[in-house]
Subunit: 494 residues, 2 copies
C-alpha cells in the first residue's frame, strides 16, 4: 500500500492545471437541467447525493478518479474494514463499520471475533431495553422507568444526541417513543442541574458513558447525579448503567444495574454505532429502531466500496471537498439541513470532521505542507437564511455549502399557504427515517475517512483532545483560578 | 465625516509593516503574567475584557489607535446615536441603543421623539406582562397563562432565544421564572409540531413577531398555530399578541390581544432590545429582569463612547478583529462560552456578525478589495474541547478564539471532585446575571458596528436576506419541486 502525501501525487499536479468551472454558467438553461439530473448518485436509505452545483467538470472528475486510484483510496478502505491497524500512531484497528455489518473478512483481536463481540453487546443492550420496556427492570417502588439520561461528553454526547433529536418527533408520531432521552455533557454544573430540574428522577435511568472510566467531566457529572439520587432517597445502583470498555473500573461494577462494552477500536466520534449510541437509542426508541439506523448505515458502507467515484457518493464528496480545500483554497464548509429534526447534526459533523482531519502532520508524524480539514459549521437552513446567509451570498469569501433535505416532513402535519405546503417550501428528498438517518451518518463518516486517506493523515487519533485533557489536569493540580489563561497561553493560537 | 475604504487609510499601510507578535513568547514567564494583568479592560455588568492572548503589541495598539482616529470611529458612533441615517442604502436611522438609554441628543423622526416611543412601548409591554402575571388577563376558562411561545425567524428568534436560555435556570433558582418560554422559527412543520406537542396550549400565549407583518415563514407558522388552537376549541384572538411595526397589517388588529411596536430603525438582529425581546422576556421573567438586561447593555454603550481604544473593549475588540482578518488573514473566528447557559449565544452572534458585516461592497455600493466579516462559529467550551478543538490545536489554519466565562455558576449547585469544584474547572469572571448578559450583548453589537465603520460597509442593511426572500417567493410561484436547486443555482456558491 502506498501512503503518499497529497502533493507527491502526479494526479494532484494535474488537478492544479485543470480548467476551473464557472458554476452559475454550467447550471444555466437546459444543459444546467441535464447536469442536475446527471450529477446525482443513489445513496443508502433512499437518499440521493446531488453534486450538480459543485465546482467540477468531467475533466476534473476524471482527474479525481485518477487521484483516487493513485492514492489507493478503495484499497485503504478495504484494509480498514478487514482489520488492518490503520490508526497507526495508536496502533489500533478502526471498527465502527463492523458494529453495523460485515464488509469483508472476519476481524480478530487475538482470538476474539470482533463482529461477534459487537453483535453480542447489542444483543445484551436489546435484552436490557426489552426488560425495561416490559417492566422486568423497575425502580425501587416497582414502577416503570420513563426517562433515560445519557451522561457523556464529546462523541459520547454529540452523535447520540443528534441521532436522538433526529428521530424524537418521528417516534412520537409513529408510537415508537418508549422513553424520553436527555443528555448531560458540559462540566458546567448548570448543565446537569438544568437537566435534573426537568427530569422525574424517581423514574429515570442514567447511562454513564466513558470508555476509559476516567473522563473527568463525565465522572464529575456522575457524582453530581449520584448526589441528587441520594438526596431524593434513591439508590444510585438501581438507576445507573455503564457503557465502557471491558477493562475500565466501571465494567461489571455492582454500582451499576449492568454494563455494556465498546473498545479502543471505536473512536468516540464514531461511537454512535456501538453501545454508546445503542444503549440510549434502544432504550428511547426500542432496539428495532436502532437496528434500522444501523441497516441504513450498513447500506451506505457497502456503496462506499465502489471504486468508481461517479458511483460512490462518500468517496466523491470527499474528493470534491479536497478539490475545494486544496485547489480552490476554501477554508470553511457549511452544512445546512433543511429539516428541524437535524438541528444538532451539524454539531456532530463538526466534531466528526474537525477532530478527525484537523491535523498538520501526516500519518508518520511528519509535518505536511498543504491544508487538511476545513472548519465545519451549520444550522438548520431556513433559519440560516434569516441569519448568516447574508455572508454566504455577499461576503468576501466563498463558502462551499452542503444542503440536506427531505421531500416529506416527519410528522405528517402540514399547512397550505401561498399555494404550497410548508414542506414543499423546504426541499427534495424522502422522509427522514431511521434508515435514511443511518445512511446520512455513514455517508459523512466515510467521507471523512476518504479525505483522511487522501491527505495521508490519521483521521482516527485525537492528539489535540488528549493534549487538552493533560493540560486541564495539570493546571487543576496547581491552581484553578488561572486555568483558562494557562490553557490559552499553552494553546498560543489567539 | 470621512467615509474612506480601509485600504485608503495611512494607518492601514503602517499596520501592514508593524512587527508581528509571537503570542506564546509574550505570554510566557513573569512578563506574560504582567501582560495578562495589564491587557484587561473593565466592561459593563462587572465583566472584563482580557486581550492578553491576542496577537497585539504596544506598537500595533498605537497604530490601531491611529486607525480608529483616522477612520473617525468615535465620531461615527456619535453620529449613529444622535440619529444620523447611517443605514444609508435604506436611508434609515439605527436606534437599537436608544431602546436602552439616551446616549446623546434627543432623536426625532418627524415630530416623534423616538426615545419616548421606545419607552412607551416597553411600558405597555410591562403593563401587559403585569396583567398576565397578576391574573387580569386570563384564558377562556379564566385560568392563568403558564407558557409564552414566540413565533418569529432570524432576529425575532435567535437573540431573544439566546437571552431566554441564558437566564432560564438563573430565573428558576431565583424564583423569577414567571412563564416558560418556547420558540417556533423554522418553516419546517416539524418545528411547530414539536413545540405544540410539548406545550399546554390551553395555557399558552403566542407572540407573532414580524416587523412587516408579511414574513412568509412566520405567517405560515402563525396559521399553523391558529389551526391548532381552533382544533383545541380555543379562540386564537384570546391567545395571541403581535410585535410588529405600527403600519403593518398585524398592528391594532382585533385578531390579537394586543400589539406592541418596533420600527424600521431597529434591525432584526439588533431587535432584542426592542419589543421583539422585551415582550417575550418580560412575560417569561418579569419586566424588571428585562430592564436589568437593558441596564447592562446601556452601561456597555456608554463605555463604547471612549475614543481611547485601551479603555474601550468594544472598539478594541473590533480593531483587533480587523487586524486578525485583514493583516493576519484569518477567515474564521470561534466564540467559546464556558457556560452552558450561553449555548445559543454563538448562533445569535453568528447572525449578528455575519449578516451585518458579510458584505463585499462599501457603503456607497462600490466593490471593495479587502476582506470583511469572517465566519463566526462556536459551541459551549468544555463540549468543544471534546469536539472541534483538535483542529484548533493542530489543524493547518489559525483560528482566533474568543472565550466567555464566569467565576460562579448560575444555580449555586456544585460538586467537589479532584480538589476543585466543577465551576472552578471552568473559568474566571463573575456570574452570568441579567446585567452582565446585557453588557455582553451590547459588547458584540458595538464591536460589529465599529468593524463595519472600519471596513466602510453598511452593517445595518441585509440585502442578502432580502434577495433570499425574493428568490424563495419567485421560485414558489412557479414550481415548488425545484426550489432548492433553483435557489442554489442562483446562489452559485457551492
Amino acid at each position: 500500500m502506498r501512503w503518499e502525501n497529497l502533493t507527491q501525487l502526479k494526479s494532484y499536479s494535474k488537478l492544479k492545471e485543470a480548467a476551473r468551472v464557472d458554476v452559475p454558467a454550467v447550471m444555466s438553461g437546459e444543459s444546467g437541467a441535464e447536469r442536475v439530473k446527471g450529477y446525482d448518485i443513489p445513496m443508502g436509505g433512499g437518499l440521493e447525493f446531488n453534486y450538480a452545483a459543485r465546482p467540477v467538470s468531467e475533466e476534473i472528475l476524471d482527474i479525481l478518479q485518477e487521484l483516487s486510484d493513485e492514492q489507493e483510496l478503495g484499497a485503504k478502505y478495504e484494509a480498514l474494514y478487514n482489520g488492518e491497524r490503520v490508526n497507526t500512531g495508536e496502533n489500533r484497528m478502526v471498527l465502527h463499520q463492523l458494529c453495523r455489518g460485515q464488509l469483508g473478512n472476519d476481524v480478530f483481536d487475538g482470538d476474539v471475533n470482533k463482529r461477534e463481540f459487537f453483535v453480542e453487546q447489542q444483543k445484551r443492550v436489546a435484552e436490557f431495553a426489552g426488560k425495561v420496556h416490559g417492566g422486568e427492570i423497575l425502580n425501587e417502588k416497582g414502577e416503570k422507568f420513563t426517562t433515560v439520561v445519557q451522561i457523556g461528553i464529546g462523541g459520547s454526547d454529540l452523535g447520540p444526541r443528534a441521532l436522538y433529536l433526529s428521530l424524537e418527533n418521528w417516534a412520537k408520531v409513529n408510537d415508537k417513543l418508549k422513553m424520553k432521552a436527555q443528555f448531560i455533557s458540559n462540566v458546567d454544573p448548570d448543565d446537569a442541574t438544568a437537566v435534573l430540574y426537568n427530569v422525574d428522577i424517581e423514574h429515570a435511568l442514567f447511562i454513564i458513558v466513558s470508555k476509559s472510566g476516567t473522563t473527568l467531566e463525565t465522572l464529575t457529572n456522575e457524582s453530581f447525579v449520584k448526589d441528587a439520587l441520594k438526596k431524593a432517597g434513591l439508590d444510585p445502583s438501581k438507576h445507573m448503567l455503564a457503557v465502557t470498555s471491558e477493562t475500565s473500573p466501571l465494567a461489571g461494577n455492582p454500582e451499576y444495574l449492568d454494563s455494556f462494552y465498546m473498545d479502543d477500536y471505536i473512536g468516540g466520534r464514531y461511537s454512535s454505532s456501538s453501545s454508546v449510541g445503542g444503549a440510549v437509542l434502544s432504550l428511547a426508541f426500542g432496539p428495532e429502531v436502532f437496528e434500522e439506523i444501523m441497516a441504513g448505515a450498513a447500506e451506505e458502507d457497502v456503496i462506499a466500496k465502489n471504486t468508481d467515484i461517479r458511483k460512490n457518493p462518500d468517496l466523491l464528496d470527499a474528493l470534491i471537498g479536497v478539490y475545494e480545500r486544496n485547489i480552490l483554497g476554501y477554508p470553511v464548509t457549511a452544512v445546512l439541513p433543511y429539516s428541524q429534526a437535524l438541528s444538532r447534526f451539524p454539531a456532530h459533523l463538526q466534531q466528526l470532521d474537525m477532530e478527525s482531519n484537523g491535523k498538520s502532520v501526516n500519518r508518520f508524524g511528519e509535518p505536511i505542507d498543504y491544508k487538511t480539514g476545513p472548519v465545519i459549521f451549520g444550522e438548520p437552513g431556513t433559519n440560516g437564511q434569516h441569519s448568516f446567509y447574508q455572508l454566504l451570498h455577499q461576503g468576501t469569501d466563498i463558502i462551499p455549502l452542503q444542503f440536506v433535505g427531505f421531500r416529506n416532513s416527519q410528522m405528517g402535519n402540514d399547512v397550505i399557504i401561498e399555494d404550497s405546503t410548508s414542506q414543499q417550501k423546504l426541499s427534495a428528498g424522502d422522509q427522514l427515517t431511521p434508515k435514511s438517518l443511518g445512511a446520512l451518518l455513514a455517508h459523512f463518516e466515510n467521507k471523512v475517512m476518504f479525505q483522511g486517506f487522501t491527505w495521508n493523515i490519521n483521521s482516527f487519533d485525537q492528539e489535540g483532545v488528549q493534549l487538552g485533557k493533560v493540560l486541564a489536569k495539570k493546571v487543576l493540580s496547581k491552581n484553578t483560578d488561572g486555568a483558562l489563561t494557562e490553557y490559552s497561553k499553552l494553546l498560543g493560537i489567539f
